[in-house]
Symmetry: C2
């Protein structure tokens, strides 16, 4: 299968700063993907804090279990990622593979097992070929290329473009860098299981504060996107803070969420998480349009979220958007099937700036031609106001096209 | 768009008995569909009991509201169905249209408004052209063709074949007929909104018993199917019992669920409901395979149902089946994302008679080649045993193919 780059891909790979205290490398294991980088590693200086979030699936991949155990301590020295094999539903063998990878790492970088984080992405049920993988991890740990683009490319599976975002901010007169890379072609495809994101910063920030921040920002980023409603066994987000840009003698660690210095960091952190999440949707399998769904006026936040999700996961809404068809009846259907409190007479719907439904009736100013023209673009906003309360939520998704079926029916064959 | 008949369609329209006390007719309104029947009516003799079930959506079409009100009384004289316009999300105008239709009917058949049942199927938000529709309903009420095939055809929208099932049984030495017709190309497509089913019998049966039976049998028929998880605004199932095959002087009405005569009737009723439901899946938009999903060994029934539904609604599972790909990792993913109690180590999976997973591990006897061969057929069984309890549920769905996208992206354009 030849991969066509998503029509929603950004024009260029972004320019990214280097992050003090992080040494990244890549290598080729020659296992699933021949002739391309498929191993990514990062070495962190001592004192690096780590925070993480993981798949909610009840079938968790072995590397997820491994990271969930190690994240409790909150300190990191090494991250190792392989692409091609998810190491999910692999039982005892899967656990052994993680043991072998961490033993191999400990031979090169002196650290405790709980300072190691392993992530895998790829086919469920197949075992990672351990010898070539360990060999490539060793090579990667010894390289000092520090090229983010190689890193972002090495973790790709069905992705059609590498995903990264970065930012520089000033805290305590020191320049702080934040860089994130991600992979994923939707929440989807456990087969190419699935979404990984890593954020690196040299800010000096306590692990608990970092974890709090990660949990909050997830809501508007990786937990606010869907391609097809399928949940991976391997979803992982990890944030690493080395502190190396701020560890002069006068610097104090950001150890409370009330620390005023956190505001700027949080903004940058939030932007990067959101940016990476949207890039995943822009690379959604078969995607030709990015759809933003805003639901306001719901009874409460949870209700808004469920309705937004119901619209975002409706194959009928997604195929209609893909066909640039202002088929608003399908949006109403998706609101109705969410089983949340609504009053049909109070529903308002705008598609972009086109008012379609006003207080439960077709707006007099509604023009199907104008709305269709708007929908022929690549960025589509569906803006629903339920007219009940102050509940608000938004979610991003992509359209459903024949490309999705082609990719998912062809893969493996 | 040229409609190709579903590859899963039955070879012939079934031979059906006539039902005493029911007079059916059809007509052409010439509105949405030119040159074909799009109006179906049935006139029932006095004393006919009716039971019904309706969409769970919070956006209910006007005809659904109309029937929900009238069903309380439990007696029926007239059923009138139009195809092409859903009369959903049409506000006051939609209510007026129903008033106008029932007034028109009352001019021809002397009855109370609450003895009338109106069903609509078609595009949401568009108004039914009332004059030609009323005119055609009048024509239909006066025809005496009594051809079930015409009836089944007249209620079709995106359907590619007419759906019907019938049976004869003996109760109290009298020949009892049951006939059902249905339309629907999935639970789906509110645009062509969506699923209607009507069951007619001349058994003498109390409305409460009929309603109880309908509620029970829904579980294994219309509530056990899904094409894409989208819920229509118009879903309606109505069962009419005229009693005319059993109304001799010695016949007693079946007025208790404990009546031993009910057993045979229930079996036939159940068979027809199930048969019609499966026909809807066989006509699922773009369907090339019928998928039966059995989940046993769950903690309880509710849990089994949620897991079965999670698998049935997973686009990734459905595309894999469509490609005859034994991509079992996706089934495991769909089990995991259901958020029900499971133990990965106890999961068993068979695809047809091929054991794939045994106690959480790939079976030694598993042959991908054999399983792929089985999956190239048209009827696919996914049989999951969770090894936890006695919870059991099954659901029927179809695969997800490019045909689904084509149908739903092309319609209206």
């Amino acid at each position: 299968m030849i991969k066509k780059i998503s029509p929603l891909a950004p024009d260029n790979f972004p320019k990214l700063p280097s992050v003090k205290g992080v040494l990244i490398g890549t290598a080729k294991s020659g296992t699933k993907y021949k002739g391309r980088r498929d191993i990514f590693t990062a070495i962190f200086e001592k004192g690096t804090a780590v925070a993480g979030a993981f798949t909610q699936s009840d079938v968790k991949a072995e590397p997820v279990e491994f990271c969930r155990k190690n994240i409790i301590d909150g300190s990191a020295r090494v991250l190792a990622v392989n692409a091609g094999f998810a190491n999910a539903f692999t039982g005892k063998k899967g656990k052994k593979i993680n043991k072998s990878i961490s033993s191999n790492i400990k031979k090169i970088i002196k650290c405790r097992e709980k300072d190691i984080f392993i992530c895998s992405t790829g086919v469920i049920g197949e075992n990672i070929p351990i010898r070539p993988t360990n060999k490539a991890i060793s090579v990667s740990l010894k390289t000092e290329e520090n090229k983010w683009e190689n890193a972002a490319k090495s973790i790709m599976t069905t992705d059609t473009f590498p995903k990264a975002a970065g930012k520089k901010i000033i805290i305590d007169d020191k320049e702080i860098s934040l860089v994130g890379i991600a992979k994923g072609s939707g929440m989807i495809s456990p087969n190419m299981a699935t979404m990984l994101a890593f954020i690196f910063t040299d800010a000096l920030i306590d692990k608990t504060v970092l974890q709090t921040l990660l949990n909050i920002e997830l809501r508007n980023s990786f937990n606010a996107i869907t391609v097809d409603g399928d949940t991976s066994t391997n979803d992982t987000v990890l944030a690493f803070a080395t502190g190396k840009a701020m560890d002069g003698k006068n610097e104090k660690i950001i150890s409370r969420t009330s620390d005023p210095r956190l505001k700027k960091f949080r903004e940058a952190f939030s932007e990067i998480m959101h940016d990476l999440a949207i890039q995943i949707i822009r690379d959604g399998e078969g995607a030709s349009k990015l759809i933003q769904i805003k639901v306001s006026g719901a009874e409460n936040t949870s209700s808004a979220k469920k309705i937004a999700r119901s619209i975002a996961d409706s194959p009928l809404v997604k195929t209609a958007v893909g066909a640039s068809d202002p088929n608003w009846g399908r949006i109403i259907m998706a609101i109705g099937k969410a089983k949340e409190k609504i009053n049909p007479k109070k529903i308002n719907l705008r598609i972009g700036s086109n008012t379609v439904i006003k207080n439960g009736e077709i707006s007099r100013s509604y023009s199907e031609i104008k709305t269709k023209k708007y929908m022929s673009g690549k960025d589509i906003l569906l803006d629903i106001n339920l007219g009940l309360g102050s509940g608000f939520s938004q979610i991003w998704t992509c359209d459903l096209t024949e490309g999705y079926i082609k990719i998912n029916a062809d893969y493996r064959s």
